[in-house]
């Protein structure tokens, strides 16, 4: 038998080898088709925006030009968004990791209470927090500052980050951490040098989620900042208008939607490399 030659095909081609790929295709289509519509709408001319042909003809970058029109300050807003979301993500990961470590590995009093408190803060309808928060920020002079956007974003992202990281750290083989401690690590070092790299899928997932959440945060950013220089992309997007009061600049908004989504996609592409399997393989029996 010439198994060598036929190996690969035989091994992988069962009768329904294509079924998983069909599934993948279906899911990708499901996820992308509304986005595609967004893209298509953003590429239509303002005047045939109501068209419903699947491919815009003629293609037009009007909407993008409008979005990037100098007076919109959209580029600057993108920068602000990056700053706010980036700082939020880094800080959330740092302090969330510390907390998650304590929750996953230490046995201390009130642990469940702490977990409960953390998640409790995710139970209050966010819009009800807005006015008191504004009062608070006015009181401490935070209006028109980056931290006024960063700190609330952090507090919205933290509960999930902590819970998720806790679940991950708890799944890491404890022997590895023990081995590191024997090797002379403090618990903190053991955690940082051994557990954290192995929990990369969880950490990067948390990073992606936090970043996206912070990137898309709207109502706080809108309320605590009124200087154009500090506004984030979603806020600027909400201010896009057409030529009159009632004229919803749908194309421009969709263009903006595409533009603010693209960096996230790139980010996901970058981060997802770290979401890999088998990091702990070969570690313990």
């Amino acid at each position: 038998m010439t198994a060598t030659l036929e190996r690969a095909p035989i091994r992988h081609r069962s009768r329904f080898w294509w079924a998983p790929y069909l599934g993948i295709a279906a899911i990708v289509v499901y996820c992308l088709s509304p986005f595609y519509w967004m893209l298509v709408s953003s590429l239509r001319r303002t005047n045939d925006i109501f068209d419903s042909s699947p491919v815009p003809a003629p293609l037009s970058l009007d909407s993008y030009e409008a979005a990037f029109a100098a007076n919109n300050g959209f580029v600057r807003a993108l920068g602000n968004s990056f700053l706010v979301a980036g700082v939020t993500t880094v800080l959330v990961l740092i302090i969330g990791t510390l907390t998650a470590y304590a929750l996953a590995r230490l046995d201390f009093r009130f642990k469940n209470l702490v977990l409960a408190i953390i998640i409790t803060t995710s139970m209050f309808p966010g819009i009800s927090l807005l006015v008191p928060l504004l009062e608070l920020f006015s009181g401490i002079g935070w209006i028109n500052t980056y931290q006024a956007m960063i700190v609330p974003s952090m507090s919205f992202a933290l509960p999930l980050a902590v819970w998720n990281l806790t679940a991950f750290f708890r799944q890491m083989p404890i022997e590895l951490e023990e081995a590191a401690q024997i090797d002379g690590c403090t618990p903190a070092q053991a955690f940082r040098k051994v557990i954290l790299p192995l929990a990369a899928p969880g950490v990067f997932t948390t990073a992606i989620i936090t970043f996206i959440a912070a990137w898309n945060e709207f109502i706080i950013a809108l309320s605590v900042v009124n200087k154009k220089d500090l506004k984030t992309a979603p806020v600027i997007t909400s201010q896009f208008t057409g030529t009159t009061q009632f004229d919803a600049p749908f194309g421009t908004q969709m263009a903006a939607g595409v533009i603010v989504t693209i960096p996230l996609v790139i980010l996901v592409l970058l981060f997802q490399r770290r979401i890999v399997a088998g990091l702990t393989a070969g570690g313990v029996k």
């Binding site: 005047n47 007076n71 504004l134 009062e135 154009k228 909400s238 009159t244 009632f246 004229d247 919803a248």
Partner: protein, 409 residues
């Protein structure tokens, strides 16, 4: 700078003197034309020490209002001049979020009286109108001409015209307005009631919708839906959806704001009805109906600094020069009465004549503190009647009760 001491009106009701000179902010929904910045720049070069900074809020009116309310609640001095929708005046005035303004400081007599009314609360001026708006009936002149019909002045005429046109052009629908459940529905309902000779809230501030006339008004809408004269999908229309339908040639009559005029006439192919329509005053039950007033007023936040500058800036903005420039640039309806009669402008904006009529005859929406709740109640009543969930009589009776409790005082 100006050396006028801001003269407050009545002693007890004008608690704050409008004082202080220096940089201020103008808070507004995003400028649609780019002209605002020009106007502000103009002011800024004249008054370098009293710079005006524009703070743009979201395009969505509810979001604008939310920001302004929040700002008032936190008593922040970040906002100085507020660009308020006409219907917000009462709420902002009653809450003392905006300062009372000295009437004598403004050329109110040069403005359209109806618009000035929208800036008043309990007979005192809190806001100065800078732009106005009124509803118009857009109609397909070509089709009506072909069917030999005249622009209608009553609903009956309109229906009759429709029947004729549709007989020749099956598939068209007769009429649409803004019937989605939002502020536009309040406007359309109010217009219907007013055009039937009724009142939503009387001049005495008492609600008055449980009347035959109001019912006749509501029935115009309800029957329209039932008979199909108003297409089912029109119940999802806001301004833009309606405009699209009209431009696509699906509608014979359309109640719409003036902004549609230019768009529907665009010759770039986006509109199939360019040059085929005209505008008329809204029709009514027994004769021409009346529109509801739209538009924006400038007011001064009570918590702001440099109110004197703010006052001067508003004066600058309502001035004829600025209004003319604004009209030319943005085609927004001015409040400066004489502009409507300038031939040059009328030629450029052919609807001005009809619009002026419309605004002059227009009624303002209820000037009540709890306007938002009133409006919600109206929308609820109109929406449920139009969707057939309630009879118009029941809906109006319920609305009356609701409004009474809301305006109790």
């Amino acid at each position: 700078g100006s050396s006028d001491s801001g003269g407050g009106g009545g002693a007890s009701t004008a608690p704050t003197a409008l004082e202080g000179v220096g940089p201020i902010t103008l808070v507004t929904g995003k400028d649609t034309s780019g002209n605002l910045q020009n106007q502000v720049d103009g002011w800024n070069t004249e008054h370098p020490d009293q710079k005006v900074t524009v703070i743009e809020l979201p395009e969505d009116a509810d979001a604008q209002r939310q920001q302004m309310v929040q700002n008032a609640q936190t008593k922040s001095d970040a906002y100085t001049v507020l660009n308020l929708d006409v219907v917000w005046t009462a709420e902002f005035a009653a809450n003392q979020w905006v300062a009372q303004l000295p009437e004598t400081e403004f050329p109110l007599d040069k403005l359209l009286p109806a618009t000035v009314e929208t800036g008043k609360y309990f007979k005192k001026l809190y806001a100065v109108p800078t732009t106005s708006d009124g509803g118009l009936l857009y109609y397909r002149k070509d089709l009506l001409d072909a069917a030999g019909a005249k622009p209608p002045t009553t609903w009956a005429e309109m229906n009759a015209a429709c029947d004729k046109v549709i007989a020749a052009n099956p598939g068209l629908s007769c009429y649409a307005g803004q019937f989605e459940k939002y502020e536009g529905l309040t406007v359309n309902f109010s217009e219907a009631v007013n055009s039937a000779g009724g009142d939503v809230v009387g001049d005495d501030g008492k609600p008055n919708v449980n009347t035959e006339k109001a019912k006749a008004g509501l029935d115009f809408l309800v029957d329209g839906v039932k008979s199909g004269k108003i297409a089912a999908k029109a119940r999802t229309f806001k301004e833009e959806e309606g405009r699209r339908a009209f431009q696509a040639g699906e509608l014979i009559f359309h109640r719409q704001w003036p902004y549609q005029y230019a768009k529907a006439n665009a010759a770039d192919g986006s509109s199939t009805v360019a040059g085929k329509f005209a505008v008329a005053p809204l029709p009514g039950l027994d004769g021409p109906g009346s529109s509801t007033l739209g538009g924006h007023n400038y007011a001064i936040s009570s918590f702001a600094k440099n109110k004197k500058t703010a006052l001067d800036f508003i004066k600058y903005m309502v001035d004829e020069k600025q209004q003319r420039a604004n009209l030319e640039k943005t085609s927004l309806a001015p409040t400066w009465a004489s502009l409507y009669d300038e031939p040059a402008l009328v030629e450029k904006f052919p609807y001005l004549t009809e619009l002026k009529k419309s605004i002059e005859k227009a009624k303002k929406r209820p000037a009540v503190v709890k306007y938002q709740e009133v409006s919600s109640a109206i929308q609820e009543a109109a929406y449920s009647a139009m969707s057939g969930q309630a009879t118009s009589a029941d809906a109006l009776a319920a609305l009356q009760t609701k409004l009474e409790s809301l305006t109790k005082g």
